[in-house]
Symmetry: C2
Subunit: 230 residues, 2 copies
């Protein structure tokens, strides 16, 4: 490998967020609410995946959605119209991620007493959202085929913090240099525990597996005693 | 349109960076160095586009490249091997963007006296890099077809700050619901002055137009008196 000069740029200190997130997770457990944090790059298909998933689960669970976005209300409207599920929009005011406090502000606007599952669609960004624990019980992310199978190598933290990686847009696999097995291996390098589920949100293929995973997570969480390690 | 609840989350204050960026731009002008800041989402094809562009321009201009990445050295090595152009890697230590001070740290490691053009490949992210002026003379971004033609609506600031938008991966237009004219209209909504050039970095189609644009910008900048408004 060619020898290139590498300059380490000093990192700014981010505010400590972990304590807030742990407190929020405990509160949610007491209320019996499961929070899923869904992350991805812009344009990887989060909203389409979410709509299909909601339509598979909405008769089994009481669900609410928080759509985080820099500015527009497009996604919350789209989700509500396509599924009938309670959906609110969080404007981040230009911020590139949500932290636990911002997430709490969103949750305060939902009817948590009548909710089993809240899905947070985070800001489209593979970097910053991974750095801030939102208080979610589980983190999931979507990597779409056109983005390339090398992304776990280039955005390591995102793949490290996710319990589940959905590989979306499998219908265009023939048109891209994307190897599913190489991608699985790259994900495993960052996070051997992560589950990987290939899906095609456009056609719906594989989304039932994601819905099944999520349903199981929620039911197991609700049965778990509060004293268990979250 | 359905009425959805919208919560405005309070924005943290980012450090003031504009003065540093303006000072850096003036210094670069005095040294006769043009800095291009190239931004995009992860996986939109920045490095491939860059390699094709360098091979078109490297006999006309003395060029150096700074590859910003969270962690890996993959891109700087790839660029140097494919073009022979001086290429250094900037590790951002997890940071999601470069500011003017970080950019200066990179430039300090380049032979600026023998350089006409520095291209900075920013961190793959449509949010944060748009918020920090790097000191570049021009900002350009790549939006790839699979990301969707609605991205100017959802990431407004990125499109507002860019002088040029490259629309990459036009070879897969038949497989995606992406309308070039609708995309141009969305870009124009955010930034009527922005130029839009469709390219396919994989086949090279359209990259000569980008190279021509860049060459013209650099030559014009070098001729401009230092007293002109930068």
């Amino acid at each position: 490998m060619t020898d290139v000069k590498v300059i380490e740029i000093k990192k700014s200190v981010f505010a400590e967020n972990d304590r807030d997130a742990a407190a929020l997770r405990t509160e949610l457990k007491e209320k019996g609410v499961f929070l899923l944090n869904l992350m991805s790059s812009p344009g990887s298909g989060k909203t389409t995946t979410l709509i299909r998933t909601l339509n598979l689960l909405k008769d089994r669970l009481r669900i609410a959605v928080m759509e985080a976005d820099i500015d527009s209300d497009v996604d919350a409207v789209k989700v509500r119209e396509a599924t009938g599920v309670e959906s609110i929009q969080l404007h981040t005011g230009g911020m590139c991620h949500l932290d636990a406090e911002m997430t709490r502000q969103g949750l305060d606007n939902l009817p948590l007493a009548e909710t089993d599952l809240v899905i947070l669609e985070n800001v489209g960004n593979l970097v910053c959202p991974a750095e801030f624990d939102t208080g979610a019980v589980r983190n999931a992310m979507i990597l779409s085929v056109p983005e390339g199978d090398d992304k776990p190598l280039k955005y390591p933290l995102m793949f490290s913090v996710c319990d589940l990686v959905l590989i979306n847009k499998t219908d265009v696999l023939p048109y891209f240099d994307f190897d599913l097995e190489r991608c699985r291996a790259n994900v495993a390098l960052r996070n051997p525990q992560a589950q990987v589920i290939p899906i095609c949100a456009r056609t719906g293929e594989g989304v039932d597996r994601f819905a099944g995973w999520l349903l199981e997570q929620v039911l197991r969480w609700k049965e778990q005693p509060i004293t268990d390690n979250l």
